[in-house]
C-alpha cells in the first residue's frame, strides 16, 4: 500500500501539479481509508477465524457422557463398560466419524458414579449443563440409572442405558431414556423357562425354587418378575431372601435360610462380591441344587478368578457371550485392545455407542430433541451394527429394546459356556444330581 501511495505522489510532473496533487492527496486519503478498512477487515476476519475455529471444533465433535462406577466395589464392571464405549468410539472415529455430520468425531467424557445414585445424578447434571454433552451412556447400576435418567429427562437429554435391568427405568413415561439391555421381566421369563427346560436338557425337574437377591432396584425388580413367572408356571417360591449388597462381608446366614427351604433350584440376583460370598457359602454347605444368577457377579471374569474351581457349575442368564457369533470378532478386537476378554457389560456399552452413532447418522444433528426422535426410531437389523446376539434392535414406546435376547451360560472348567437356548448352546448342561 505504501508503495502505491509513493507512486501516486511521485507520479505528477511539474506541469499539471495542482490537479494531480489534489488527486494524489485524494488518493492518499482514499488510501488511508482503504488501509484502515483493510485493517478492520483483517481484524474482523481473524476474530471470525478464531470463532470459526471454536465453532469448527464444536462441529467436528459430538460430546457424549459415559457414566459408570469407575471406583468402589463395582469398579471392574464400570471399567469393562467404559472400555466397551472406548473401543466403539475409537473404531468409529478412526473410520471417519459421523459421516452425515462432516465426519464429526465422538468425544467421550468419562464420569465416575462411585456407585452412588445421588452422585450419579449430580454428575449427569454437570455433564449436561457444564460439558454440554449431546447424550449419555450408562450406568451399569439400576439404582443409579433410575436417578440419573430423571435428571436427563428433566434436562431433555437422551440417555442410553447400556446395562441396568430394573423394569421401572423404562416404565415412568420418560421420553429420553432408552435401554439396550433386557429388563428384569425378560430375565425372569427366560430364567424360569430355563428351569422348566432342565427336565428336558438334564432330566432334572424343578418344583421348589428359592430366591436370593440384593435389595435394590436390580434385585427387587428381578425377584418380583421371577416370582410372577414362577407362580405363573405353578412352581413354588420356597424362599425369598434379600440382603444389602453394598459392603457385604458375609452371606452364610442368608444362604442357610435359602437352603433350609430345600429348594430344587436357587435363583439369585447379585453384584460381584455378594455373588462370590453366596457361591462360597453354598459350597461350604455342600449344596447341590443348581444356582441360576441374573447376569450379576457370575458373568464377571473376576468371579471365576476369585472362586477358581468353586465357580464351576454355576448358571447365569446372560445377554451376551464372547462365544456367540458376533461376539467372537468383537472379543478379538477387545482383547487386543484391553488384554482381557469382553463381557456382556462391555458389549452392551459398545452396542450403546453404535446405536447412538447410527441415530446421529440419521439425524445429522446434535440437537437433543432431534437426536431423541432419531433414537426412538432406531431399528437395526443383523449386521455389523448389531453385536448383541439378537435378530434386531428396536426400542418400544417406553424406550426399551424389544428384541433383547437372553441365554443361559454355565461355568464349566473355568469358562462361561452357553448352554441354552439350543441354537446358541456350545456346551451341555451339567448338573450334579
Amino acid at each position: 500500500l505504501s508503495a502505491d501511495q509513493g507512486k501516486q505522489t511521485a507520479g505528477p510532473g511539474g506541469g499539471y501539479i495542482s490537479i494531480l496533487e489534489l488527486e494524489a492527496a485524494a488518493m492518499q486519503t482514499k488510501g488511508t481509508i482503504w488501509a484502515s478498512l483493510l485493517c478492520v477487515l483483517i481484524l474482523l476476519l481473524s476474530a471470525l477465524a478464531c470463532q470459526e475455529d471454536q465453532h469448527a471444533h464444536e462441529t467436528r465433535v459430538v460430546k457424549v457422557g459415559a457414566l459408570f462406577p469407575l471406583s468402589g466395589d463395582l469398579k471392574d464392571k464400570g471399567v469393562d463398560s467404559a472400555n466397551g464405549v472406548r473401543l466403539a468410539v475409537e473404531e468409529i472415529n478412526s473410520s471417519g466419524g459421523i459421516a452425515s455430520m462432516d465426519g464429526a468425531k465422538l468425544e467421550v467424557v468419562y464420569v465416575d458414579t462411585k456407585g452412588k445414585p445421588s452422585h450419579g445424578a449430580s454428575e449427569v447434571e454437570r455433564l449436561i449443563s457444564k460439558e454440554g454433552v449431546a447424550a449419555i451412556i450408562g450406568t451399569y447400576q439400576s439404582s443409579v440409572t433410575k436417578q440419573a435418567t430423571q435428571v436427563a429427562e428433566r434436562l431433555e437429554t437422551p440417555f442410553i442405558v447400556s446395562v441396568s435391568i430394573a423394569d421401572i427405568i423404562t416404565e415412568r413415561g420418560f421420553r429420553y431414556t432408552f435401554r439396550i439391555q433386557p429388563k428384569a421381566t425378560f430375565y425372569a421369563r427366560d430364567q424360569v423357562q430355563f428351569l422348566r427346560d432342565l427336565k428336558k436338557l438334564a432330566g432334572y425337574s424343578v418344583q421348589r425354587v428359592a430366591l436370593l437377591h440384593e435389595n435394590t432396584d436390580f434385585g427387587t425388580s428381578a425377584a418380583l418378575a421371577q416370582k410372577r413367572d414362577l407362580r405363573k408356571y405353578g412352581m413354588q417360591v420356597v424362599a425369598d431372601v434379600s440382603y444389602k449388597a453394598e459392603g457385604v462381608a458375609n452371606l452364610d446366614q442368608e444362604v442357610a435360610q435359602v437352603l433350609a427351604a430345600k429348594p430344587d433350584a436357587i435363583l439369585t440376583v447379585t453384584y460381584l462380591m455378594d455373588s462370590v460370598l453366596i457361591r462360597k457359602a453354598l459350597a461350604k454347605a455342600g449344596a447341590a441344587a443348581p444356582m441360576v444368577d441374573t447376569a450379576g457377579g457370575t458373568v464377571s471374569p473376576e468371579y471365576i478368578g476369585l472362586l477358581g474351581p468353586l465357580a464351576n457349575g454355576a448358571f447365569t442368564v446372560a445377554e451376551f457371550s464372547k462365544f456367540a457369533a458376533g461376539g467372537k470378532k468383537l472379543n478379538e478386537r477387545f482383547k487386543r485392545h484391553f488384554k482381557v476378554d469382553i463381557t456382556g457389560d462391555s458389549a452392551h456399552a459398545y452396542q450403546a455407542v453404535l446405536v447412538l452413532k447410527e441415530a446421529l447418522e440419521r439425524t445429522g444433528s446434535r440437537d437433543k430433541a432431534k437426536l431423541r426422535d432419531a433414537l426412538a426410531s432406531t431399528d437395526i437389523g443383523k449386521g455389523d451394527k448389531l453385536v448383541l446376539p439378537s435378530e434386531r434392535l428396536r426400542f418400544d414406546k417406553s424406550g426399551q429394546n424389544e428384541f433383547a435376547r437372553l441365554f443361559v451360560m454355565q461355568i464349566q472348567n473355568g469358562e462361561l459356556v452357553p448352554v441354552w437356548p439350543a441354537q446358541y448352546a456350545t456346551g451341555k448342561v451339567k448338573i450334579n444330581k
Binding site: 433410575k146 429427562e153 428433566r154 421401572i168 416404565e171 427387587t220 434379600s242 444389602k244
Partner: protein, 1041 residues
C-alpha cells in the same frame, strides 16, 4: 395571452385535476365500503369463533378431567377390590407379603409400592417394585395425613408427586384395612403410577397445539403431558393463571369460564379449568390463541388483501373513467391554448362521440375552421403590402449604398459654385469631419476647394464644350492645408430647357500614386549607382537567351572591355567573348558558366574560383557568385553574376600551403627520429651491457677465473633485448585484430592468475568484478596484452609494493558525459578500471602518456611503446582509454569498451556457456623456461584435474621423459628456450617414443620454422600467450586425438 400563461403555470403547481379527484373519490368509496363490511364480518366471525373455541375448551377440560378422575377412581376401585377380597389381617406375615406382592404383580404397572400399616401406624410390610425393604428399613407413619384419614375410614387421595427418588409420577392412595369384624385394624397405602395416565391424556387432542396440565388444591403445578416439564416445574405456583385463580377461589360459577392470558409455555392462550372429580385437583386446558383464533386472523388477512385489491381496482377504474371524460377536455384545453398562442394550423382532432363532449368537440372544430379562413385572408393581404414596401426600400437602398460606400468622392455642385451634395468619401478625402463641416467650410468652391480657382473656370469651359470632363487631373485643397492630386469626372445636369441645374461628378485621390512613382524613380537610381560603383563585377543577363542587359564598370574593368562590347550580346558569343577557364586551366564550356547555369537551370554558384583572361591576355583569378533572378511567380526572368578579382589573394595562399607541407615533413622526421632513438637507446644500453660483461668474462677467462657470473649478466641483457623485440612484434601485430565475443571478467581473472606469478609479491592484486559477465567484441589476446601492460606499468610505479585493483562494470554513457570526453560516442560500455597506489603522475606527464616512445622510466627500463600500443588497441576496439592521476596518489586507467548488443550478447552467452571447461586426469609434462608460464600452466591444468610434471628446459624434459615417459600422456613444449630449445627437444622426444604426443606452445605464429617443427610430429599447436580456456581446450582436443 399572458393571463392564460399565468393560469396554466399556476395549474402546474397545484392542479387538482378532475381525473385525480374522481380516482381518489372512487378509492375512498371502495375503501370505506370494504373496511366497513370487513370489520362487520370479522366482528361477527370473531364472536362465533370465540364461542366455538371456548366450547371446545370446555369440552376438552371436561374430557381430561373425566379421564383423570376415572383413572384414579379405577385405582382406588382396584385397591378396594383387593381389600374386600383378601382377609389381609388374618393372614400370617409372609402370606400378607405374598398377597401384596401379588397385588403388585397382577396390577402391574398400576401400583408401584404397597405398604401395610398396623393401627399404630407402623409399617409391617412394604412391597415395592424398586426396593426390597428389609425389616430395619420399615418406619412409623402415624403422623401421616394418609394414615390418619384412612384410619378414620376415609379414602385418601394424595397429591400427584414423584414417588421417593424413583422419578415415577405417583398418587398416594390410602384405605382402611378392616378385620372380619369390620373394625379398622390397619391401613393400606398404595402408590399409584400415574405416568401412564398422562400418556392417555396426551392422546386427547386439544386442537393442534393445545395442552392440559394438572394443579393441586393449592394451585400448584403437579402434572403435565411432558414429563420433563413436570420434573422442571413440579410444585410451581400456578395461581397467576386466571383459570387456576378461579379454581382456588372455588366459585362454582367459574367452572367453564374461558380466559385469555399468557399460559404455561409463555404464549397467549385461551384457557379453562375443570375440577377432577374424586380428587382435590383441577385440570387446566390451554390453547394458544394463535391457533384458536387462527381462522379469524386468516379472515382478517383475507379481508385486508381484499380491501387492498378493491382499492387498487377502484383506483384503476376511477382512473380509466376519468380519463374518458377528462381526456377530451384536456385536448380541448390544449387546443384552446394552441389557438391562443396563434397556431391555427395544427388541426384539432376532435372526439367522435355522441355525448356532450362530442358536441363540444365538434363545435370547437367548426370554430377553428372559421378562424383559420379569416386569418389566412388577412395574412395574404399583409404579405402583398410587405412585398411592395420591400421593393421600394431595396431600390432606394441600392443607390444610397453606392453613394455612401463608394471609394471615390461623389459630388453635386451648383453652377454658382456651392456644394449641393457630397458623399462620405469626398468629405474624408478633403479632410473634413462631416458633411456639415464641409458645407460650413466651403462657401465658394472655386476659391476654397480648388487649389487654383481658375481650374474650375477651365473645367466648366470643357464641360460646356464637350458636355463632360474625363480623368481630368486637378489639385484640390485639403482642410489641413496642402493639396490633393485628384482625377475628376463630371458633367452638367440640365433641365428641360437645357439650362444647367447642377454639376455632378466623381473625384479620385491620386496623391499616393504620384508619390510612389517618385519613390520608385529614386530607388532605381540608387540601385543603379550601387551596381555601378560596386567593387565586384556584376553582370545581369535576360532569360532565356542570355542577352546581357547590364554590366557594371567593374565587370568591364576586370574583363578589360567597353560597355558596348559587353551589353546586348547573347550566349552564342559569350564563350569567345569572355574567355573563362577552370582553375586547372581548361576552358570553361559555355553551358557551365555560372551565369548560364543560373539562367538555364536556376542553379546558384557560390565562390567558385575561376580564371578569366582579359583583353590584354592576362589571366585573372576570380571568385564567381551567380544566381537566377525570379519574378513573383517563380519564373526565371534573368540571371545575375557577381565576380571578384582575387588574383592577389590566391598567390599569397599558394605560398602558405608549401610552407605547411614542409612543416609536416619535418614533424614526421622528428617522430621517426624519436622512435629510432628510443629503440636504439635501449638496444645500445643492452649492447653496452653485453659488451661490458663480455669483456669482463674474457678477462676472467684469461685469468682462469669463473666467468659464469658475467655470462649470466650477458644472458640477462640478451633476454631483455628479446623482450624488447617481442614487444615490437606485438606492436606490429596490431593489425591482425580478430574480434569475437569475450567476457572481460574472465580475461581479467585469467590475467590476474598470470600476474600473480610475474609481478612482485609485495603487490596485492585485488579484483572487484561485476556479477554479470561483461561481454564485448574483442581480440582476447590484445585485451589481455592491455591488462598485462597496465599491470606491469602499475607494478613499476609501486617499487615498494602497494595495491593493484581491477574493476569491471557495465556503464551507460549519456550525451553529457560524452560532451566532456570528445573521443567517445554515447551508448553502453563495459568499464574496466585498473587502479594502483603508486607514485602517480603530474599533469604534464599525464597528457603525454599515450604518445609513442614517451616514457618516464629510467633509461633502459622501457621503450615507451607500452601505453601507446594500449591506446592503439583500445582505439581499434572502438573504445576509449583515459587516465586519472595525481602525484603521490596513484593512478587509475579507465578503459571503456563498447558493450555487445543485447541480442548478440545472448548468443555469445550461449556460446560461452556451451564452452564447458574441459578437463581430464591424464599426466602432462609442461616444458617452458619461463617460471611464470610453468606456474600458470600447472595451476590451470591441475585445476582441471590433470597431473602435471614440469621441466624448465629441453634437457630437463628429456631426462624426465626418459625416466617416467610411460606415464606421460602429453608433452606441452615451448619452442624458444635456452639450451637445446624446443625444436631439438621434440626430435629427441620422438626418437625416444615415436608415438609421443607433443603440443607446441609458441609466441611465433605457426609459419616458417614453427610450421616445420609441427610437421615433424607435433600433435598440436597453441599460440603464446594463451588463455586458460584456450589451453584447456587445445589440450583436450590433442588428447582426444
Amino acid at each position: 395571452m399572458t393571463n392564460l400563461k399565468g393560469r396554466s403555470s399556476g395549474d402546474g403547481v397545484r392542479r387538482k385535476s378532475l381525473a385525480a379527484q374522481l380516482t381518489w373519490l372512487s378509492i375512498l368509496v371502495v375503501t370505506v365500503t370494504v373496511l366497513a363490511v370487513g370489520a362487520g364480518l370479522i366482528f361477527i366471525a370473531a364472536k362465533n369463533q370465540r364461542v366455538s373455541a371456548f366450547r371446545l375448551q370446555q369440552l376438552s377440560a371436561e374430557q381430561v378431567s373425566r379421564l383423570i378422575s376415572s383413572y384414579i377412581g379405577g385405582a382406588s376401585g382396584r385397591l378396594r377390590f383387593f381389600l374386600d377380597n383378601t382377609p389381609l389381617v388374618t393372614l400370617p406375615l409372609h402370606r400378607q407379603k405374598t398377597a401384596l406382592e401379588n397385588l403388585l404383580i397382577t396390577s402391574m404397572p398400576l401400583f408401584s409400592q404397597v405398604t401395610f400399616l398396623d393401627e399404630k401406624g407402623n409399617e409391617t410390610i412394604k412391597v415395592s417394585r424398586f426396593h426390597t425393604y428389609l425389616s430395619e428399613e420399615l418406619i412409623n407413619q402415624a403422623d401421616s395425613e394418609a394414615f390418619n384419614l384412612a384410619l378414620k375410614g376415609g379414602t385418601y387421595v394424595g397429591p400427584v408427586s414423584f414417588l421417593g427418588n424413583t422419578g415415577l409420577l405417583s398418587v398416594t392412595l390410602a384405605m382402611p384395612v378392616k378385620a372380619p369384624t369390620a373394625e379398622i385394624s390397619g391401613v393400606l397405602i398404595a402408590a399409584v403410577n400415574v405416568s401412564h395416565l398422562w400418556q392417555e391424556v396426551s392422546n386427547i387432542k386439544i386442537g393442534k397445539t393445545g395442552y392440559a396440565y394438572l394443579v393441586d388444591m393449592n394451585g400448584h403445578f403437579v402434572a403435565y403431558q411432558k414429563l420433563a416439564k413436570v420434573l422442571q416445574r413440579h410444585g410451581e405456583d400456578m395461581r397467576r393463571m386466571l383459570p387456576v385463580a378461579d379454581f382456588i377461589a372455588s366459585r362454582r360459577d367459574s367452572i367453564g369460564r374461558v380466559h385469555e392470558y399468557v399460559g404455561l409455555v409463555g404464549e397467549e392462550v385461551i384457557g379453562v379449568y375443570a375440577p377432577v372429580a374424586g380428587t382435590s385437583w383441577a385440570v387446566v386446558i390451554e390453547q394458544p390463541t394463535r391457533e384458536a383464533y387462527a381462522s379469524i386472523i386468516n379472515m382478517g388477512k383475507y379481508l385486508l388483501a381484499l380491501a387492498f385489491a378493491g382499492i387498487v381496482a377502484a383506483g384503476v377504474l376511477g382512473f380509466l373513467i376519468s380519463r374518458r371524460i377528462v381526456g377530451p377536455i384536456r385536448a380541448l384545453t390544449a387546443a384552446a391554448r394552441q389557438f391562443g398562442a396563434g397556431d391555427l394550423e395544427t388541426e384539432f382532432v376532435g372526439v367522435k362521440r355522441q355525448d356532450e363532449v362530442g358536441v363540444l368537440s365538434n363545435a370547437f372544430q367548426i370554430m377553428q375552421k372559421r378562424l383559420h379562413d379569416l386569418y389566412d385572408g388577412l395574412k395574404r393581404k399583409l404579405a402583398e403590402l410587405e412585398a411592395m414596401q420591400k421593393a421600394l426600400h431595396e431600390s432606394e437602398e441600392k443607390y444610397r449604398s453606392i453613394f455612401e460606400n463608394a471609394t471615390e468622392g461623389i459630388f453635386q455642385t451648383s453652377p454658382a459654385g456651392r456644394i449641393l451634395s457630397v458623399n462620405p468619401a469626398f468629405i474624408k478625402m478633403l479632410g473634413y469631419d462631416s458633411r456639415r463641416d464641409l458645407m460650413l467650410g466651403v462657401k465658394d468652391i472655386s476659391a476654397e476647394l480648388y487649389a487654383r480657382s481658375e481650374d474650375r473656370e477651365e473645367i466648366l469651359k470643357i464641360i460646356e464644350r464637350d458636355g463632360a470632363i474625363e480623368e481630368q487631373e486637378v489639385e484640390l485643397r485639403h482642410k489641413g492645408g496642402g493639396g490633393i492630386h485628384c482625377s475628376m469626372n463630371a458633367h452638367a445636369v440640365r433641365d428641360g430647357t437645357g439650362d444647367i441645374i447642377y454639376f455632378e461628378g466623381t473625384v479620385k485621390d491620386i496623391t499616393l500614386k504620384k508619390r510612389a512613382e517618385e519613390e520608385r524613380e529614386s530607388a532605381w537610381s540608387m540601385l543603379e549607382a550601387a551596381i555601378n560603383q560596386s567593387p565586384s563585377g556584376i553582370v545581369i543577363a535576360d532569360a532565356p537567351d542570355g542577352t546581357i542587359r547590364l554590366a557594371n564598370p567593374q565587370a568591364m574593368q576586370i574583363r578589360g572591355a567597353s560597355k558596348q562590347s559587353l551589353v546586348n550580346i547573347d550566349f552564342s558569343q559569350h564563350s569567345a567573348n569572355w574567355q573563362i577557364f577552370l582553375p586547372d586551366g581548361a576552358p570553361c564550356p559555355p553551358e557551365d558558366l555560372p551565369l548560364t547555369k543560373a539562367i538555364t537551370k536556376g542553379e546558384t554558384t557560390v565562390n567558385q574560383a575561376m580564371i578569366i583572361r582579359n583583353q590584354q591576355g592576362e589571366d585573372r583569378w576570380i571568385f564567381v557568385n551567380a544566381a537566377p533572378i525570379k519574378n513573383k511567380v517563380g519564373e526565371i526572368t534573368s540571371g545575375i553574376v557577381v565576380f571578384q578579382d582575387v588574383t592577389g589573394l590566391k598567390q599569397a595562399e599558394d605560398a602558405k600551403g608549401k610552407l605547411e607541407a614542409q612543416l609536416r615533413q619535418a614533424q614526421k622526421m622528428e617522430a621517426i627520429g624519436t622512435l629510432a632513438g628510443g629503440i636504439a637507446h635501449d638496444f645500445n644500453n643492452i649492447l653496452s651491457a653485453i659488451m661490458g660483461y663480455g669483456e669482463l668474462a674474457q678477462l676472467a677467462a684469461g685469468n682462469g677465473e669463473d666467468s659464469s657470473r658475467f655470462l649470466d649478466q650477458i644472458v640477462k641483457a640478451a633476454e631483455r633485448a628479446r623482450g624488447l623485440v617481442k614487444q615490437m612484434l606485438t606492436f606490429s601485430r596490431r593489425s591482425e585484430t580478430e574480434l569475437s565475443p569475450v567476457n572481460i571478467n574472465e580475461l581479467v581473472s585469467h590475467s590476474v592468475m598470470l600476474l600473480k606469478h610475474t609481478i612482485p609479491k609485495m603487490i596485492d592484486i585485488q579484483t572487484n568484478l561485476s556479477n554479470d559477465p561483461q561481454l564485448v567484441e574483442a581480440d582476447a589476446t590484445q585485451i589481455e596484452q592491455v591488462i598485462m601492460n597496465l599491470a606491469n606499468n602499475a607494478a613499476d610505479a609501486m617499487p615498494d609494493g602497494g595495491k593493484l585493483v581491477f574493476e569491471t562494470k557495465a556503464v551507460s554513457l549519456d550525451e553529457e558525459y560524452v560532451e566532456n570526453h570528445l573521443e567517445i560516442a554515447p551508448g553502453s560500455y563495459v568499464l574496466l578500471s585498473v587502479t594502483d597506489t603508486g607514485q602517480g603522475m603530474d599533469a604534464n606527464t599525464l597528457v603525454r602518456i599515450f604518445d609513442p616512445f614517451f616514457t618516464t622510466k629510467e633509461i633502459g627500463k622501457g621503450t615507451g611503446l607500452g601505453l601507446s600500443s594500449v591506446f592503439g588497441i583500445i582505439k581499434e576496439h572502438g573504445g576509449h582509454i583515459s587516465c586519472y592521476s595525481e602525484p603521490g596518489l596513484g593512478a587509475t586507467f579507465k578503459i571503456h569498451l563498447p558493450a555487445m548488443k543485447a541480442s548478440l550478447k545472448d548468443m555469445a552467452k550461449q556460446d560461452l556457456s556451451a564452452q564447458a571447461v574441459p578437463g581430464g586426469h591424464e599426466k602432462l609434462l609442461l616444458v617452458d623456461d619461463e617460471d611464470a608460464i610453468r606456474g600458470f600452466g600447472a595451476e590451470v591444468l591441475e585445476g582441471a584435474g590433470y597431473h602435471v610434471a614440469l621441466a624448465a628446459s629441453g634437457e630437463e624434459a628429456l631426462e624426465l621423459y626418459g625416466r617416467i615417459g610411460a606415464e606421460i600422456d602429453l608433452v606441452i613444449l615451448d619452442l624458444g628456450m635456452p639450451g637445446m630449445g624446443g625444436h631439438k627437444c621434440i626430435k629427441e622426444l620422438l626418437a625416444l617414443n615415436p608415438g609421443v604426443k607433443v603440443l607446441i606452445a609458441s609466441g611465433y605464429s605457426a609459419t616458417g620454422k614453427v610450421a616445420d617443427t609441427i610437421k615433424q610430429g607435433a600433435a598440436g599447436y597453441i599460440a603464446k600467450p594463451f588463455r586458460r580456456i584456450d589451453l584447456l581446450h587445445t589440450v583436450r582436443k590433442v588428447m582426444d586425438g
